[in-house]
């Protein structure tokens, strides 16, 4: 029953998407503008059937309807309700189905918000989005069909979702964030290809193009950071980023989208870099598809096993089609997009943005090369190799420092051409800020390094601190200067800041995001190069010294929860000032035994402090002797990577906020987007 209904809805969605794509693109190209309502109806039909299909699946999961193949695969009677709902995206078929619902939501939001827009532009853009939707609906209906019948006899219980999924609450919100980021890139892809098909990028679409990229960009940023937080808080190997293919898969589209958002400023302001900007939009979308392929087809287990996965070959074809269509559109239609101004000087805002774009592309290329190289060698030479983390670090760190530098210099330079003298004068305060940041760090860690409280650090990390201070001063100045100009008698400073922000929300929000990025960069530099590590096997009562902290082992304890059993080490963290914090009764690092998994899943203890984390993971224990082995780290500033999430989100929301003029003017796309974010 559920299976038939769900599959029927998916087929209906496929039909609507295919209809919308054909009608939208065909009538758009032949200038039959009367067909737009039909395209809109197709989009609404697709959205409704996809969202309904997901609700049917959630219903089947909650009712433990094991006659549905996917429920039999991930469901279990003993799984808590919340994890039962989450298991919708715990496995391949379900996550692709969920993907369809998000696609439906985005397409609905876009079609509805811009429902009063006329013209074939809308038809072409919606048509292209429907074409992408058709592919995903086809995937759900065919190769990744979650609705298939369970072979008889129908079981009365199932294995439950992946234990790692059940192990932490972050796993509930991290995947949807990434999906919202990945799927959302379909909208700018649609707008960009629509513009190329029409051979013209209308001024009216410049702001929506940027905003519709900023929405998925924000989700993607949050998703990436939450993913690294999850890896840190759950996996217990003592890190948050390992240049793993799965991580890179989300990082590459983020890089391309970030470059794109920056170049749209040149597009909006100078009406140039049109082709380049659209190429970035297409590239970001293509990388989301490549990323999905990399994470979902199992290609990284072995190149030769991916063809056995149901979706691998289908995805590969889609990747090729998107690439060919993109290149063809850019080559054939690109020359029609004429720049309306030319760059006067590289030494200008637009010059720095172009440079920023090139640096982002360089990093994307670097990561792409390192990620795909093992696949290529395995496919061509049948040799199994992997690219070591050092490659990524050696390549990415200097590029990241260059980005940080440009993040400071760019906002200082005016549009058009900068005056060297003024620029030099303006550099004084930021340069002092940079020096101050390095001095502050040295003072804060004075003597601490030699005492073993922190790692020795690297030159690059210290450079990152200096550049961060430099950027922080410039960004603060850019954030507050307009407010100072607005200050008059009777206005307080805070009111002036709010007023300046509401006058130029894009600019203000952008700098807030920059502040968040500076914090993240500092936190990454500090936590990766100044960390301290210790490991050892302890008997009860013994301690392990890590940095300035002592970890005392107080014995083992174990217990039972509805869906798992655990064994935990009772630990006391002794601070340098003698303060003791005890973690007992399952709050220490532990091993979780899920009912239907043979291997235990560890959970580390993260003793979170404002300026550092003490991180202890339980490697192994010997119940007979009562001893346990630990890995322990002190990570300076690491928490600030995730504490910066609200800053990034706040900045994006401010940027998405419509300007008052736009509100009155009638084309106000943003409130719904902002509410959604």
């Amino acid at each position: 029953m559920n299976a038939t209904l769900g599959y029927g809805l998916v087929l209906l969605g496929l039909l609507c998407a295919a209809f919308g794509a054909l009608v939208g693109i065909f009538t758009g190209m032949t200038r039959r503008e009367g067909a737009l309502p039909w395209v809109q109806r197709a989009v609404y039909g697709f959205s409704a059937s996809m969202i309904l299909a997901n609700l049917v699946m959630i219903g089947a999961l909650l009712k433990h309807d094991y006659s549905v193949k996917y429920v039999a695969q991930v469901g279990s009677n003993s799984t808590p309700t919340i994890f039962t709902i989450v298991s919708l995206w715990s496995s391949l078929e379900g996550s692709i189905l969920f993907w369809g619902a998000i696609m439906g939501a985005y397409l609905f939001a876009f079609a509805f918000i811009h429902r009063h827009e006329h013209g074939r532009y809308m038809q072409l853009s919606l048509g292209m989005m429907c074409a992408v939707a058709t592919f995903f609906a086809f995937l759900i209906a065919g190769p990744a069909n979650p609705w298939g019948p369970t072979p008889n006899p129908i079981p009365t219980d199932g294995p439950g979702p992946n234990a790692l999924l059940q192990n932490h609450v972050l796993m509930i919100i991290h995947p949807p964030m990434l999906y919202l980021g990945f799927v959302g890139m379909t909208v700018p892809f649609g707008i960009a290809t629509g513009a190329l098909l029409r051979g013209e990028l209308g001024d009216a679409w410049l702001v929506p193009l940027r905003k519709w990229t900023l929405v998925p960009w924000t989700f993607l940023s949050v998703g990436i950071i939450l993913g690294s937080w999850w890896a840190y808080a759950v996996l217990g190997w003592g890190g948050y980023w390992a240049w793993d293919p799965v991580e890179n898969a989300s990082f590459m589209p983020w890089l391309a989208a970030t470059a794109f958002i920056h170049s749209t400023m040149v597009l909006e302001r100078k009406k140039s870099l049109k082709l380049w900007t659209l190429a970035l939009a297409l590239g970001a979308f293509w990388l989301t598809i490549v990323g999905t392929f990399m994470t979902r087809s199992g290609v990284f287990n072995s190149v030769h096993s991916f063809t056995q996965s149901d979706i691998g070959p289908t995805f590969l074809v889609f990747i090729a089609v998107v690439m060919l269509v993109s290149i063809a559109l850019l080559a054939l239609r690109g020359p029609l997009l004429v720049a309306e101004t030319h760059m006067e000087s590289v030494f200008s805002r637009e010059g720095s943005i172009l440079l920023n774009n090139l640096v982002f592309c360089a990093l994307t290329f670097t990561v792409f090369l390192g990620t795909t190289y093992p696949l290529i060698t395995e496919a061509l030479a049948n040799k199994r190799i992997s690219v070591g983390e050092p490659y990524f670090n050696i390549m990415a760190l200097p590029i990241a420092l260059l980005m940080l530098f440009l993040m400071g210099v760019g906002p200082m330079l005016p549009w058009g051409e900068a005056n060297p003298k003024t620029t030099l004068r303006q550099l004084a305060a930021p340069a002092a800020g940079g020096v101050l940041a390095v001095v502050a760090w040295k003072l804060a860690t004075l003597g601490a390094s030699s005492a073993g409280e922190y790692g020795s650090g690297t030159v690059m990390a210290v450079m990152a601190f200096g550049l961060a201070g430099f950027v922080a001063v410039i960004t603060t100045r850019e954030l507050l200067l307009p407010a100072r100009a607005l200050m008059g008698p009777g206005t307080n400073f805070f009111g002036a800041v709010v007023r300046s922000a509401s006058r130029a929300p894009r600019r203000f929000g952008g700098y807030v995001v920059h502040m968040g990025i500076v914090i993240i960069m500092v936190a990454i530099a500090a936590s990766s190069s100044f960390k301290v590590h210790a490991s050892g096997t302890l008997k009860p009562g013994e301690t392990l010294q890590v940095g300035a902290y002592q970890v005392r082992f107080d014995g083992l304890s174990s217990g039972t929860e509805p869906h798992r059993k655990w064994t935990s080490a009772n630990l006391t963290i002794v601070h340098p000032d003698g303060k003791e914090v005890a973690y007992a009764g399952g709050h220490g690092p532990r091993m979780n035994y899920y009912e239907r998994q043979t291997d235990p899943v560890g959970s580390p203890l993260v003793h979170e402090l404002v300026w550092r984390d003490v991180y202890v993971s339980l490697l192994a224990y010997d119940a007979k002797e009562g001893s346990a082995s630990f890995n322990a780290w002190v990570f300076p500033l690491v928490g600030w990577i995730w504490y910066a999430i609200p800053i990034l989100v706040a900045g994006s929301l401010i940027s998405l906020w419509p300007r008052r003029r736009q509100l009155l003017g009638g084309t106000a796309p943003a409130p719904a987007e902002a509410a959604k974010a």
């Binding site: 690219v387 009912e595 235990p600 630990f630």
Partner: protein, 154 residues
């Protein structure tokens, strides 16, 4: 026009430099994934580069030092006594699942004396269905999971 040519040349040069550096660094940081027999077949070529050695922990080969900070064991192609093996020396404390017969991947370097030194020890997970038996305590169940028929997964 002249500016565009200069910009294009600069761009090509920069892109070329990036490519050369990237490929160079890539070559320096490749990690080879070999089984014990593949590693032994490499001869001297195996000495030096970072290698991921994958195989199973040979029966009866796990040897700890007195205070359990150092560990020696053998990684073999399979569970047969005749399978080729490589001796591994690790300062890393292995995870709970580590035991004879389990599939492992160790990352490290092979030296002239024929010892593989590792600082990274990963255990292959198996996710076989195994509910606790009636009347079995948690300890007994966990123990049974760990002592379960080892699988030589690769």
């Amino acid at each position: 026009m002249k500016n565009i040519v200069i910009a294009a040349v600069a761009l090509v040069l920069a892109a070329g430099a990036l490519g050369v550096i990237a490929f160079g660094k890539l070559g320096e940081n490749l990690v080879y994934y070999w089984s014990p027999s593949q590693l032994l077949a490499q001869g001297d070529k195996a000495i030096g580069p970072t290698i991921r050695l994958g195989g199973v922990v040979a029966a009866g080969s796990i040897a700890w030092n007195a205070n359990k900070t150092h560990l020696d064991f053998k990684v073999a192609d399979g569970m047969l006594p005749t399978a080729s093996f490589v001796t591994v020396s690790s300062n890393e404390i292995p995870p709970q699942m580590f035991r004879e017969g389990i599939g492992v991947v160790v990352e490290g370097t092979y030296d002239k004396s024929g010892v593989f030194r590792t600082n990274r020890l990963m255990v292959n997970h198996s996710n076989k269905y195994r509910p606790p038996q009636e009347g079995q305590s948690q300890e007994e169940w966990q123990k049974s999971l760990l002592e379960e028929e080892p699988q030589a997964t690769k």
